[in-house]
Symmetry: none
Subunit: 211 residues, 4 copies
Amino acid sequence: MAIVDRKLREKAEMRSRILESAKALFAEDGFQNVSIRKIAEKIEYSPATIYLYFQDKDAILFALHNEGFRDLFTRQKHQAKIADPVARLRGLLEGYLEFALQEPEYYDLMFMLFTPLPKIIKTAEWRYGRRAYRMLVKTVAECQAKGHMMNTSTDAAALGLWGAVHGIASLLIRQRASMLPADKQADIAREATLMLENHLLPFPADAGLHS
Amino acid sequence: MAIVDRKLREKAEMRSRILESAKALFAEDGFQNVSIRKIAEKIEYSPATIYLYFQDKDAILFALHNEGFRDLFTRQKHQAKIADPVARLRGLLEGYLEFALQEPEYYDLMFMLFTPLPKIIKTAEWRYGRRAYRMLVKTVAECQAKGHMMNTSTDAAALGLWGAVHGIASLLIRQRASMLPADKQADIAREATLMLENHLLPFPADAGLHS
Amino acid sequence: MAIVDRKLREKAEMRSRILESAKALFAEDGFQNVSIRKIAEKIEYSPATIYLYFQDKDAILFALHNEGFRDLFTRQKHQAKIADPVARLRGLLEGYLEFALQEPEYYDLMFMLFTPLPKIIKTAEWRYGRRAYRMLVKTVAECQAKGHMMNTSTDAAALGLWGAVHGIASLLIRQRASMLPADKQADIAREATLMLENHLLPFPADAGLHS
Amino acid sequence: MAIVDRKLREKAEMRSRILESAKALFAEDGFQNVSIRKIAEKIEYSPATIYLYFQDKDAILFALHNEGFRDLFTRQKHQAKIADPVARLRGLLEGYLEFALQEPEYYDLMFMLFTPLPKIIKTAEWRYGRRAYRMLVKTVAECQAKGHMMNTSTDAAALGLWGAVHGIASLLIRQRASMLPADKQADIAREATLMLENHLLPFPADAGLHS
DNA sequence: CATGAATGAGAATTCATTCAT
DNA sequence: TATGAATGAATTCTCATTCAT
């Protein structure tokens, strides 16, 4: 038993090591510029070994995709429990930003990468994405019912909020905010997000006091 | 003289044709998936001919980059003349969105593409970008001086606004907003942007009345 | 003893199973297109296990070769006992055709495959082939002594007869006779062989009546 | 003009050189064992160059296939004009053997190769094969109408004759007749074929005299 | 100015085989 | 006995780029 366990653990560890390396390389060089060879070199195994753990290059991307969505989804589950819709929506937005800041490699793969979506979008895993979006829309609608973001369609409000946080994160991740000092970028991003929330989703008690 | 002129004109036309084709192909397939050959085929010249007009593949991207920034900059020059800082800032944001919606290929290259920035960022041409950013920051500061977006650093406010519009545009361009009907996406994006402006940059008349 | 016996039996059974699978796969996909892995999968063992029973891929082919020749030789032993040379020669030809029709996988390996002969031909096992050929030549010579196939060298007569049956079988096996209905091919092949025999080796009673 | 001509000539020559080398290598090592690299080495060009002249490896095989059938068909056109069906059939058989003896590489590709038929058979070029077969059947039927090969279905007679020559040729080409001295093999094959013809298709004048 | 020809470098992938367990 | 893990060598094929014409 112990032996079987160890083998399974080792197998899983190897998979992880490959995924880690691939994730790092993708973030560094861009998915398209990473070859199986480079991944293999990084983990100091032969290219053929990679194929013992993943069917092909796409399968690696796919696995990372899944891991990323699983991570994001886990975070969102906590926030989804918040009763007050405004607090919940703020929680979702802030959680989303934190995810992007803490896991920029995943975030890039999931929400910024160009190519491989066609293959992935149709798969079961993309359901995470749709589900997350639906939760966002529902929460936005509840906030509107409470008087927030009036005079705006729910679709537009949802796109605006998601887009805003996505954009802030994207600019950092794809290095378009390099005019800001590197060590301050994350905090400035958080501040920017808070500013948006304060104007769009003031807490009831804060009404009139925000900005 | 006339002959020299014609030659120059022809040369410029050829360059344009190459750039047009490349732009279309980059947007369709992603930069990495476009080969010099494909571009050559599209303009019905041989691959070798491309090299008479551009030193290498990166140079094409670089030239498109420039064109894009020139275009964006031209648009911004008009908005920059608006006296009222709030109106000016709104104009800049809306103009930026329109640019992204009307020239998604350029936008993708300029603000979303992965790879080649290291090379590009250091060049003279990225000055456009810096200049545009400086103008944004200056305008934000003026708005803050008028009481908008208080309690937020200028950097954060600027990042928040730019990021918001960037994010909305990005989601459309990289097809992450496919849950919205294709023919409505642009209008919903505009509505979302307006919503943000209305909350963050209410017109003077609205002052104090916004949510 | 019993234990040793069982072990030996099991070992032989495993060898057989490998050979069976390989034979089927070779016939289906061609020798070159069959990987050790495919064979292993088919018998539901690991590729490494194959190497416990055979030194390498060629050794499998080699073993099948042997089995095929042993089978053919066994058949020929019966026919070799026929006293009348004409009846014997007819028996040999018909037996040879039946072997090709009933064991096309072996036949392909033995008489049609390209590659590996150089290695095989020099080995002891090819002795079967030589022995069979010598028997054919001897029988042809006896028939000629009885007035058949006169005016032809024994070598030519032997090559002609063997070649004829070989060709008929080959066309079927390598699917060049697909203009004939699949379920009739074997019978037409038999009829063709009989026709040749009737003209080249008429039974004594027929002498002078053929053609 | 001259320049264009020369270029075309050179292009055609290169194609030919590739085909020649491929043909030789296929015959030597078997189709499956010949890599693009080996072909490239043989003509002392880089592998990539091959792809300027042929889309892929199969295309080379395909081209050789075509050339072979064109050659065979040209030969048969002459024989097809012979008025007397017996003489015509003999001509066809002997011509077929000569083709196999003179162009064994083509013959191997066309009539003995294992794999690639599926792809090829469906193409226009295999029409040559079908057409040739139809001509054979027609001629056989005419011979039967004249009293030859009675008591045998036309299909069987055609298969018998084609198969006989094919088999004789195949044994030589795949080196199964190595018990005959190499320099005599072709002549013995011719003699064997003549023997078959003399028994199955005696010339009218010979009637009754053969065997 | 334009290009046909050529290629070195590198991509993904497969396979026979070995070996420690 | 059986195998999971690993790999070196090879395969087909693509591409950016160069250069003589």
